[in-house]
Amino acid sequence: MSRLLLLLALAAPIAFADSEIQVEQVLKRDFHPRGQAGMDRIPQDGLQRVCTEARDRPPQALARTLEADQQKTLVIPEGSLMGDWKRGERLAQSGQGMTWNDKPGNAGGSCYNCHELSPKELSFGTIGPSLRGFGRKRGSGADAQRYVYSKIYNAKAFSACSQMPRFGTSGTLTAEQIKDLVALLLDPSSPVNQ
């Protein structure tokens, strides 16, 4: 029985695949490059395709496979991953970067768009979970640093169809910037942990 379900689950994306290829052809025809947003942004990678076909709820076995695949993209620097929470707060506030009217580089993390972080910032989004007090709960040791760094670098390595961008894998944020965001979340003196 469970074997049959697994087979069906694996077969389902194949049945939908044609329509996704058609959508991609429409995008290639009906969209045009502008600024830094070139047409190389149109083709889906395997993860995007599976998540689209599964409406972001892939069967568990498939999700684990995708996550293991994304784990392989992680590039984690040696040593401490704790940067400067003040710079991290500025990055978290900035929703800029990567759009066709942004200059290449200088991207922010858009963190407050989706998450609650510092209690001083009341204008926060709710697409992602609240991260207020995150470091108080998780501590600031090497494991916590590594987890937060990895999650920001590639959220899909932990949740295949997460709505959170892959900030490292996509080249949006540098290693130094991700370290600053790690500090914003974990540093005991960060407002997030006050």
């Binding site: 329509s19 996704e20 058609q22 959508v23 991609e24 429409v26 995008l27 025809r29 009906d30 969209f31 045009h32 490059p33 502008r34 947003a37 070139g38 047409m39 942004r41 149109i42 083709p43 889906q44 993860l47 995007q48 998540c51 689209t52 409406r55 972001d56 990567m98 759009t99 066709w100 009217n101 407050y112 768009n113 989706c114 009341l122 204008s123 926060f124 989004g125 709710t126 697409i127 899909k156 709505q163 961008p165 892959r166 996509s170 080249g171 949006t172």
Partner: protein, 264 residues
């Protein structure tokens, strides 16, 4: 007045109050701006443009057929997007207006689409015209075309586009508009594939947007969503944009039109 309101909003956001209080303040602010909205000025400007002779043939748009016959404006917007036999394609308000500018007035496509989105100092003629034409559907139930095979194909394409994840940040429309009670910063996000949320949205666009001090069209709304999705730019009036527009309009159908609205 509008600038004062923006300053007021900024002050509200900075208040050290709870999120619930902030929400109430923002609702109060929204009521305030809708009472002082300049939507009517856009409607008047649109009427002038509709009736003004222009282009190489020096004729007005008054004979433009928006689907209910040449020059029929009452309720026409509520039926869009829809299939047009003369072009053999599904069109939304803006693409149909451009069609009338080229066929009736003899303007080149390049001329008619030179400024499809305006700015605060100089609105686009399409923004004025959209406000005027949409206003003639007030009280009329939204009922876009969904029966013709090309309308059905567009609807399916629109739905597929809505859920299609792509680009450097992996976004689809559903990334932001897929679950109830979600916000980006303080902006609440309607779940646009569900009728109960889509209806209020469809019934109030085009809309005056206080943060831009501009009247904005649906084509602009879709364009700016794709900008924020970090995608390349959708071409104005392309099949993809009309299909997505039809998917949203069809999801929100049945609601009496009450726009042009006023947004944050």
């Amino acid at each position: 007045m509008i600038r004062a309101a923006v300053v007021f909003l900024a002050a509200v956001c900075a208040l050290p109050a709870g999120a619930q209080d902030a929400k109430k303040e923002i609702e109060r602010y929204q009521r305030m701006v809708s009472e002082g909205s300049p939507v009517e000025l856009f409607e008047i400007g649109g009427e002038e443009l509709w009736k003004k002779p222009a282009g190489p043939r020096n004729v007005s748009l008054e004979k433009c057929d928006l689907g209910l016959g040449p020059g029929v404006l009452k309720g026409a917007y509520a039926r869009l997007p829809r299939y047009f036999a003369d072009t053999d394609r599904v069109m939304d308000l803006e693409t149909r207006l451009v069609h009338c500018m080229t066929t009736l007035q003899g303007r080149s496509l390049q001329d008619a689409t030179r400024r499809v989105f305006g700015n605060e100092d100089r609105p686009s003629e399409l923004e004025y015209l959209s406000a005027y034409i949409a206003a003639q559907s007030r009280g009329v139930k939204m009922a876009p075309g969904t029966r013709h095979p090309k309308e059905q194909a567009a609807l399916e394409l629109g739905r597929a586009l809505f859920f299609h994840r792509a680009g450097p940040w992996d976004f689809s429309c559903a990334s932001c508009h897929g679950e109830p009670d979600r916000r980006i910063r303080m902006q609440e996000l309607p779940v646009l594939y569900e009728p109960r949320y889509a209806r209020a949205v469809v019934a109030t666009w085009p809309a005056y947007r206080v943060s831009n001090s501009q009247l904005k069209t649906m084509q602009w709304r879709l364009n700016d969503c794709y900008r924020q999705m970090r995608m390349p730019e959708p071409t104005f009036g392309s099949e993809a944009t009309v299909a997505l527009n039809l998917f949203l309009a069809a999801t929100g159908q049945g609601e009496p039109y009450r726009g042009p609205g006023t947004k944050r």
